[in-house]
């Protein structure tokens, strides 16, 4: 006949307590998210309308819409992607597929980790010094996007490298054994099976880039521009900077406008994340091994 000993009962009780504590901690994590989204929907929801999304701000930004900021953010993100994705993917390909394990490679890896750890305001100052002044691009979409690109490069590299390394080594060796070069192996086997992960990383980069404020405030974002940008050498409004400006620098802005801006911004980010998750789930279904 089996009976529970005191020790059994105690372990059982401890286990239940542990699970309860961990569960509470996990729930705590969800609370801020719910509060933020809830507040934004309640307070900013009334501001959202077609007019809000597709007209310019009026009366010193106390009325009207956010269209130039929305367009500006699209420009900034698009140009930043054009700069960072080719560089990041190529760097990740080199590091994952070609680089020997030596001092240089380790130094590069260390540099990438450090680049990821640099605060965004430092990136901003770097952007001013390097792109705006040294390369004499001036405060513009180009300078701001390049700054964003430098900042998000580690994200692209790490995401790409992880998806490359998720392709089993045995596939590469099988190709090499047949006399395929590294590049033939990458093109025919490695890239087709990691492109999904790479794209997921790119989408996440979009969501991160669109929310950044510090890197663009000195390099290309303007509080108010009366026209939509026509080229990468124009200054532009941007969602994140617009929110910062009307919330802290401008007086007399009705409360629902900043909340409305924040709601639109966070919707863009959540939408991008949702696309990326959906994409990942879809591709997991296509997994080939």
């Amino acid at each position: 006949m089996f009976t529970a000993t005191t020790l059994n009962r105690r372990s059982y009780r401890t286990q239940n307590v542990a699970r309860a504590v961990f569960f509470l901690m996990t729930v705590t994590l969800v609370i801020p998210v719910l509060i933020i989204i809830g507040t934004l929907v309640v307070k900013g929801g009334p501001a959202i309308s077609w007019e809000f999304l597709f007209t310019e701000p009026r009366d010193g930004m106390t009325a009207g819409g956010i269209f130039p900021a929305l367009v500006g953010t699209v420009w900034l993100v698009a140009v930043a992607l054009l700069a960072s994705v080719p560089v990041g993917v190529a760097a990740a390909l080199y590091l994952s597929e070609y680089a020997p394990d030596n001092l240089l490679t380790r130094t590069i890896n260390l540099a990438i980790i450090n680049l990821a750890g640099v605060p965004s305001i430092v990136h901003a100052l770097f952007g001013v010094g390097a792109f705006v002044l040294f390369f004499n691009i001036g405060a513009s979409i180009l300078a701001a996007s390049l700054t964003l690109a430098v900042m998000t490069l580690p994200v692209v590299i790490v995401a790409t490298r992880e998806s490359l390394q998720a392709v089993p080594q045995a596939f590469r060796e099988a190709c090499w054994n047949m006399g395929a070069t590294r590049w033939q192996t990458i093109r025919k086997v490695v890239l087709p099976n990691s492109i999904s992960g790479i794209l997921t990383g790119v989408i996440l980069e979009v969501s991160r880039t669109s929310g950044e404020t510090a890197p663009i405030m000195f390099t290309g974002a303007a509080a108010f521009v009366a026209f939509l940008p026509a080229s990468v050498f124009d200054q532009t409004m941007a969602m994140s900077y617009h929110l910062y400006y009307i919330a802290t620098q401008q007086t007399g802005v009705p409360e629902e406008i900043p909340f409305g801006v924040a709601l639109v911004l966070i919707s863009i980010v959540l939408m991008m994340n949702a696309i990326s998750i959906a994409f990942r789930v879809y591709l997991r279904g296509l997994k080939k091994w």
Binding site: P100, N177, G179, K188
Partner: protein, 280 residues
């Protein structure tokens, strides 16, 4: 001076290519396809194989037997310079393929494309069955669909897989069963039209009936190419190999005509011990 030739060969009978019953015999009289001299392989300073010297002749099946950790796989990897992908692996000594040191091949890819390899665990590339087998022909520049079709069918047939996959050449090779993937791997190696085929315990994932069918194919292939067969199954070596080497703990304990080894004409008693299963 060549080690361990069959008595008939050393007597000079097989000096030229002879054909008995349609099956080519090894060309013991001609220069070997592979000459290994003083080969030592170590991993991070730990020797895995010490001072191996041996010759492998055209159109022979050369068996290598021995327990795990004897350096058999290391030896195979060295033959097509796959050691370059393992930074901790250090190879000393010389290996000559067709009289030319393999390290003198500037284009290592050209070297590898002439050597087919099959490892114990099957690797179906995440491509269709067809593309798996057409991979190497395409690398060689074969583009015409009819030519590719012909290579794919011939190689899959030889690997005893054609009947099972001919209706689903477009399904993924990596989704075949383990045994089928292994035969796919063999078909892929054959599609390279290699001069040398390296088989590392190819039958581990394959059922006995299919193994026998593949063994028949290997005997036929001997007329076209040279096979190095690493196997854990001593009886497989006995069935297939013309000559067999016995590796033990990184040492080549014995080498000789397979029939000599299996009939007790050994240099070292440990060989007989292993063959008869007295230790493993």
């Amino acid at each position: 001076m060549v080690d361990g030739l069959p008595a008939s060969a050393t007597a000079g009978v097989l000096a030229a290519a002879t054909t008995a019953g349609g099956v080519a015999s090894p060309l013991y009289g001609e220069p070997p396809i592979i000459e290994v001299r003083d080969l030592t392989i170590s991993y991070d300073g730990q020797p895995a194989l010490r001072d191996i010297s041996l010759d492998i002749f055209r159109h022979e099946i050369f068996g290598i037997i021995g327990p795990a950790n004897s350096g058999k796989t290391s030896f195979l990897r060295t033959l097509n310079r796959m050691d370059g992908f393992n930074p901790g692996m250090d190879v000393r000594g010389s290996i000559r393929l067709n009289g030319k040191d393999i390290n003198d091949w500037r284009n290592v890819y050209a070297l590898r494309s002439r050597i087919g390899v099959v490892f114990p665990l099957p690797v179906g590339l995440p491509l269709t069955v067809y593309d798996n087998v057409a991979f190497s022909p395409r690398l060689r520049g074969i583009r015409r669909k009819a030519d590719l079709d012909e290579v794919v069918e011939r190689c899959l047939t030889r690997a005893a897989l054609w009947d099972e996959v001919k209706d689903r050449l477009d399904s993924l090779g990596s989704l075949l069963s383990g045994g089928q993937q292994q035969r796919l791997t063999i078909a892929r190696a054959l599609s390279q039209e290699p001069e040398l085929l390296l088989l590392d315990e190819f039958s581990i994932a394959v059922d006995p009936v299919t193994t026998m069918r593949i063994e028949d194919v290997l005997r036929e292939l001997r007329s076209e190419l040279t096979i190095v067969l690493v196997t854990n199954l001593v009886q497989q070596a006995r069935r297939l190999a013309d000559r067999t080497a016995f590796f033990l703990m990184g040492e080549m304990v014995d080498i000789g005509a397979t029939e000599d080894l299996f009939e007790g004409r050994v240099r070292d008693e440990r060989t007989t011990g292993y063959i008869e299963g007295r230790f493993g």
